[in-house]
Amino acid sequence: MSTFFLLLILFFGFLITFQIAKASEYVGVLKGEKKNFEQNNKVNGFLMMAFLVLGLIGVYWCNELYRGKILGESASKHGEQIDTMLYITIAITGVVFVATQILLFWFAYKYQYSEKRKAHYFPHDNRLEVIWTVVPAIALTVLVGFGLFYWFRITGEAPQDANVVEVTGKQFGWIFRYPGKDKTFGKKYYQNISDKDNNSLGLIWDDANAHDDVVVNNEMYIEVNKPVKLVINSRDVIHDVGLAYFRQKMDAVPGTPTTMWFVPKFTTEEMKKREGNPDFEYEISCDQMCGRGHFSMRGIVKVVSHDEYVLWLAKQKPNYAAVFPEAAPAAPAAPTADSAKAAIVTPAPAATASVTK
C-alpha cells in the first residue's frame, strides 16, 4: 500500500513540476525572451556559487563524519607505507581539487552573461599551456617516484625467516595449510581433491613432506611482529585475499599461485583494546567476485604472540593423521621410505595420482 502511495506522490510531483515548467515557459514568452533569459541566467549563476560554497563545506563535513571510521592505524608495517603514500597523494590531489573546483564555479559565476561585458578573444597562449603541462608532469613524477619506491618494498622478496602459510580460496571459504615441523609443504595435485575423503587440498600422500602438513579451515593463526608469507591458491574460481587492516590484497587464481608477505604489528587481543570492540577480529574478505556466496566468504586471522603460536601449532593434528589414523605418528620419513609407503597410502578416487606437478 505504501508503495502505491509513494508512486502516487511521485506522479503528482511530476505533474506539478510539469505544470510549473510549462507555465514558466508561457510567462517567459510573455515577458520577452531576452528578459526571461537574463533572469534564468542570474539564478543559475547564483546557484553555481551556492553549489561551490555548500559543496566545499559538504566535503569538509563528510570528512569530519567519516575519517574516524576508516580503519585507524595500519596493523602491518607495509600498511604504514601505504598510508604514507595515501597522505602524500591526498595532499597533492586535495590542493588541485579545491583550486580547480573554485576556479570552475567562480569563473562561471563571475563571467555570467552581462550586456555590458564583451567576451575576451583568447584562443591560445603557449606560455600558459607549457606551465600546465610541466607542473602536473612534475607532480606526477613525485607521485610515481614515491609510489614505486613503496611498491617494490611491499612486493619484494619476503625475508628468509618468514613463516609461510598457504591460503586456498574455494566457493565459499578459506583453507589454510601449515608446512609442519619439516617446514616444507608436501606436493599436491588438484585431481586428488576430495572433500569426502578429507583431502580438501589434494595432498599427495606418497610425498612424505605432506604427512605433517596441517590443514585448517576459516581461521588462520599468525605470529605478531614476525614476517609471514602467504602463498595463495584457488581451488575453483578467482578469489582474492583481502586484509583491510593490514592493507593487503592479492588474488587467488586457480592454477597460478601468488604470494604476499607482511609483518603484523598488533595481536588480535591488542586490537580489541585499540578498537574498543571486544568482538574485534581481523577478517579476510574475498575481494574478487566469485559467485553467489561472495559477500559472505569470510575468514579470520588470529594474530597471537610467539608462545601462543607455537602452542596452537603443536595442538593441530596433521591432515594425514586425520585421514590415516592407523598410520600415525606421522614422523618425517626418510626419502627411502617413500616407495614403501606409496603402496598403502594411494587414495582411492585418484589411482593415477602418481602424476606430480
Partner: protein, 608 residues
Amino acid sequence: MSNEATLHGHPEVGAAHDAHHDDHGGHHHKETFITKYVFSQDHKMIAKQFLITGMIWAIIGGLMSVLFRLQLGYPDAHFQFLEDLLGSKWAKGGQIQPEFYYALVTMHGTILVFFVLTGGLSGTFANFLIPLQIGARDMASPMLNMLSYWFFLTASIVMMTSLFIETGPASGGWTSYPPLSALGDASEGSKTGMDLWIISMALFVVSSLLGGLNYISTVLNMRTKGMSMTRLPLTIWALFFTAILGVLSFPVLLSGFILLLFDRHGGTSFYLSDIFLATTGKALPNEGGSAILYQHLFWFLGHPEVYIIILPAMGLVSEVMSVNARKPIFGYIAMVGSMFAIAILAFLVWAHHMFVTGLNPFLGSVFVLLTLLIAVPSAIKVFNWLTTLWRGNIKFTPAMLFAIGFVSTFISGGLTGIFLGNSTLDIQLHDTYFVIAHFHIVMGVSGILGMFAGIYHWFPKMYGRYMNNTMAYIHFWITLIGAYLIFWPMHYEGLAGMPRRYLDYSNWISFNQFGGLNRFISTVAMIVFAIQLLFVFNFFYSIFKGRRVMTRNPYDSTTLEWTAPIRPGHGNWPGEIPEVHRWPYDYAKDGRDFIPQTEPLGSNESAH
C-alpha cells in the same frame, strides 16, 4: 580529397547521394514510413534511433541500480512488492536473492557501459554531428551505418532476452572473469545467460566496428571544401579518436570472448586450469590455461573503452562550452594533441586493472608510470576548459550547465584515478567502493553529463523544437548534487577497505559501520533516478509539443550544422554544401559576437 570530389565524384556513395542531391531543391523523393523511420539510411534518423534505444537502456539499467540500492540500503527489509513482481526465485520473501543481486549488478554495468555510454553516446552524436559538422550529405556508407544500428538493436534484444530465461542473465560482473563465467556449475548466471551475454556482446562489437569504420572514413574523406582537419570542431576530433580506439580494441575483446566460448563449450583450456568444483564434487580435466589471460584481453579493450566513453563527452562539452561562453575554446591544438595523447596512452595502461592479480611487480611499475602519464593530457584539458570560461560572457543554457557539471565531475573523478593508478595505493583500494566511486564519477556521471549537454544543445537541430528549460534546470541541479551525494561518501567506504559486489555487510566487523550511510546513498539514488524520468518526459514531450525553433542558428553558433535548414532533409543542405573558410571558434573576434565558418576571411583579417 577536394570538396568537388566529395560532392560529385563519389561512386561508392553515389546511388543514395546523388539522387538526394538532385532532389534537394524540391524535397520530393518518396519516403515511406518504413524507409524514413525504421530502415532509414539518413544519418540523422539513425542517430535518433541510437539515442532513443540508449535512453530505454538507460532507464532499464538505472532501474536495476535502484533495485540493488534498495538491497544495500535495507539489507534486512522485506519488500513484498518485489516478490509479487519478480517471483519467489529472485526475491524470496521480498528480499533480493544473491543470484539476482549479482545478475543486477552485472547487467547494470554491461548496459550502462556498452549499451548506453558507448552505443547510445557515440552512436548518437557521431551519427548526428559528423556529416552535419564536416559538411557532408551523409556517412561514407549509409548502408553500413544502418546495419550498425540494427546490429546494435539485435544485440540489445539478445541481452534483453537473457533477463527472462530460467537461470537468469550473466551474473559474473560486467567484466565476466573466467573461470566463474566459464563454468555453469560455479554460478547460475554462467549457464545460458552467459552464452546470451557473449552472443549479444559479439553483435555489439560488430555494430561498433561498422559504425567506427564509417565514422573514420567519413571524417577523412568527406569533409566539405575548405574543411581542413585543423578546422574541424573538437566534437569531430573527439569522435574521430573514439572511433579509432574502438576499431583497434574491440576485435581484441571479441577474440577474448571467442576463447571463452571455446572454454565453455569446446573443452579447451585457454582460461581454465586446476579446478575442482564443490557443487559437483569433481575435478575438471582442464590444465595449463591461464585465467589471467582473459583479463589481459578484456582490459586491452576495457581500458580504451573508458576513453571511448569519455572522449565524445569531452568533445561535446568543448563545443557547448565555447558556444555558450561566447569565446573560442582555449588551446585548440593542445586540446587535439591531448586527445591524441590520451588515445595513444589508452592502449598502454590496461594492466593497471590487474596490479593484485600476481602480475610481475616490475611490469606493474611500468603500468604505473604510463597510467599516471595520462593525468598530464587530462590536466591540460581541464585547465583549457577553465581558461575558456575565464573572461567569457557565459549563457547558462541547460547544455552549458551540464558542460560545467562535466568539468567538475571529471576533475573529481580524475583525481581519484591518480590514487588507483598508483599500484601502492591500489593494493589497499582495489575492488573496494573507492573504485566504484572513482569510475562512476569520472566515467558514469561525467559521461552521462556530457551526453546530456549534447542532447540539450542539439535537440533543436534534431527535432526543430526546444526542450523545456525549467524542467532542464531542475534536472541538472538535482542530478549534479545527487551524483556527488551518492558517490562522494563512497570514497570513505573504500578507504575502509569495504569490498565491491557484496549485498550485505552486516556480518562483517570491518565494514558494518556504514549502514546509515548506505541507506542515505540509496535514498538519494532513488531521487536522482526519478529525476531522470523527468528528463525522459521532457524529451518526448518536446519532440511533439516543444516550442518551435524559428531561426536557423538559435545559439549564434559558428559551425556548419546551423547553416542547414531547421529541419534538414536527407542530404542536409538543399543545393550546394557550404564552403568553409575558417576554424570553428571565431567567437568574440574583432569585436564581433561570432563569425560563421562559412564566412571568408576579411581582407586584413588574420586566420587563427
